[in-house]
Amino acid sequence: MKSESTGSELLQRLLHGEAAAADVVALVSRAETDPGFARVIAGELAFSSMLGEAVRSGAPVVDAGAHFESNLRSAALPMDDLLARVREGSATGYECDQVVKHLWDSPAAAAQLRRDLAMEEFFHEALLDSKSESAFVRSLETRMWAETRRDHFVDDFAKRLERELTSAVEEVEDGKVVPFAGGWGYTFVKMGAVAAVLALGSFFGVQTMLDHKTAKPTLASVVKTSAGVTWSGEAVPGEDGSIRSGLYRLATGVVSMRMSTGSELTVEGPAIFEVGDDASTFVHEGIALARLSSTDPGISLRSKGLSVAEPARLIGIDARSEGATEAIVFNGDGGICLTEGGKCRELSEFEAVKADHLRERLVDVPYNPKAFANAWALLSGVENNLGSVRIEMPGAAISSGQGLEGEVQVYVENESFRPASDLEVDQVVAGEFSVAEANPGQQLQAKGELRSYLLQLWPTEAGEGDEVETSLTFDHPVVGVIFSSDRLVSSDSSVGSTISDASPGFNSNRGMDSGNDEILLSQDRRTLNLRFKGGGAQAGQVRVLVALN
């Protein structure tokens, strides 16, 4: 049988940092009844504190004395105050134990506390945007996506919401009362607002009306925009696309900028971002995607509550929520820090973290790149001119079982790499349409930095379908095209492809080399046109290598 600890033993445990909550409770009760012993404790703790200060320099010390004094103060608090602290979520372990002692004797009090805690949660849900139904469902959707990737939960949810929004509008039009909880109504209003802004005109139309009067140096240039870009606020890019320091409000659309440091920043509206005199960028609101140039020593990127301490090669910021900002690493390794408090988190590829503004905490969240789809479509470096094309997000598994009839999937299989040796590519003559078939090939010399895309083309109908025609324009010159099956297989490892397909026989005829298909690379080597019939029901693949410098 375990004997009760003596006061001296309890004190030793406290001094050595080994005291459990129960030990502290016991020590407090002894100190209350024995003033002499209380003085001994106080003296020992004061001495410990001095020792701590003497051996440590600079860093704050956990003050056992203060901790003990705090417990003594808590012991004197009335039960109502202790219960209030539990409801607030600010109760210490010692205070919780005091409450527990009270609750064991009174089941009714325990039931009441449970109701009060639930009510506290209700107040938060009623008053906090970050606790709204829409925020909860959005977050649940993210987790569902991450944990049940191949399930249809997210799609079902989106369709369901669309239906409910439509029915809500119909009911309003009929003059009925719509008990519509949460933020979906707001989303709908916002969608209406976006549509209204879209009607104002295109990016260039708006910017020619506005005079950029400042003589500040150019820190970045707009290099690409989506359709329907509109700016609001005073600062807008110059007519030549120049960006100077200032606060920019992108109302709609997606804009890609090249910073003076060589890095690229893509922002999706509605967004507010600030460019500092030193070319640093602060994303106040919206979606931003930053790609670090290999020659850039480091982009200075911050957002509400967090800063990018170590920029990854490709990193995204989602600052749409008032309560939290998310950072997500798509390529390379990065470090994210809280703006206040200096807490940091190292992130590897396909990891994400959320900075909770209210609690000043960094919380790991599942990788869900969906929010960045529009920004990624612009930043991926490939533009669709013709056909049904889907730009896949980084991290999407490349598999032969995912495409739709007549669709072309585009994967950026390697953002940037330097081949270790020459690569064998297929012969393609720029400016001439030719049949994609067996050919002697040619060597692509191992020099410079490349990016590798994998196109996956799905036939319309097996055996008798029409051809799939697509036209893609790349923002860097195409230096190599691989469409034959054997060269695709042999180049997989050289380009660092993560192709995951292992279906029987797939590798032997995965290329676009059945003799039925045609390919044309434009004279300027930027645009690739493909006519694909395929030789069966399965997809045909084409690898495209572009030179980054």
Binding site: V100, R114, F136
Partner: protein
């Protein structure tokens, strides 16, 4: 999973999220982790939909899953726990396990109650609303609020208590009206 189960599930998320979060909090889960635990309960439920007995109350089933998740929290190492105190959670779980049913903010009509509460909050005088927002929106402690409003902490606690009582009464009145209609 049978056809239509996912539809049922989506319906249930919207129906039960408010009550489930209240229930999770009532078991002593750290306010910061309430949504996390509630979402985990939904995910477990989704993955086990095949096991759900359709003759049972879905809300009670969800609460059972959440209760088990919270019980498991006590076995985790300290830094990974999502509850504020093992002992407190133990006594609160003991209090909750008496019945499958939960009333008020934790039960099956929680969403209606939450919407009623939101209506009541809208009707508050400006100063009361500021006080309430300082506590629940900005997450300030009574001490912080006291400084902000030039009051003393006990007066803040009392004012908040009065507000909570008034809002609860308002919510109950609205609920009675809903029931009557």
């Amino acid at each position: 999973m049978k056809p239509g189960d996912r539809e049922l599930f989506i319906e249930q998320v919207r129906e039960h999220h408010a009550g489930l979060r209240g229930f999770v909090r009532s078991l002593g889960v750290d306010p910061l982790w309430v949504d996390d635990v509630a979402q985990e309960a939904f995910i477990v439920a989704y993955n086990r939909l095949d096991e759900f007995d359709h003759s049972r109350d879905f809300g009670a089933w969800l609460r059972g899953i959440a209760r088990n998740l919270v019980i498991n929290e006590r076995r985790k190492e300290a830094r990974r726990k999502r509850i504020i105190s093992d002992n407190l959670t133990e006594v609160l779980i003991a209090s909750s396990s008496a019945s499958d049913e939960e009333d008020d903010e934790m039960g099956d009509f929680a969403l209606v109650r939450l919407n009623a509460l939101k209506e009541c909050v809208k009707g508050l005088p400006e100063k009361s609303l500021r006080l309430l927002k300082s506590r629940y929106e900005d997450d300030n402690s009574a001490q912080d609020i006291a400084e902000e409003f030039s009051m003393n902490p006990p007066a803040v606690r009392k004012a908040l208590e009065r507000l909570r009582t008034a809002l609860r009464e308002c919510m109950e009145e609205k609920m009675q009206m809903v029931t009557a209609t």
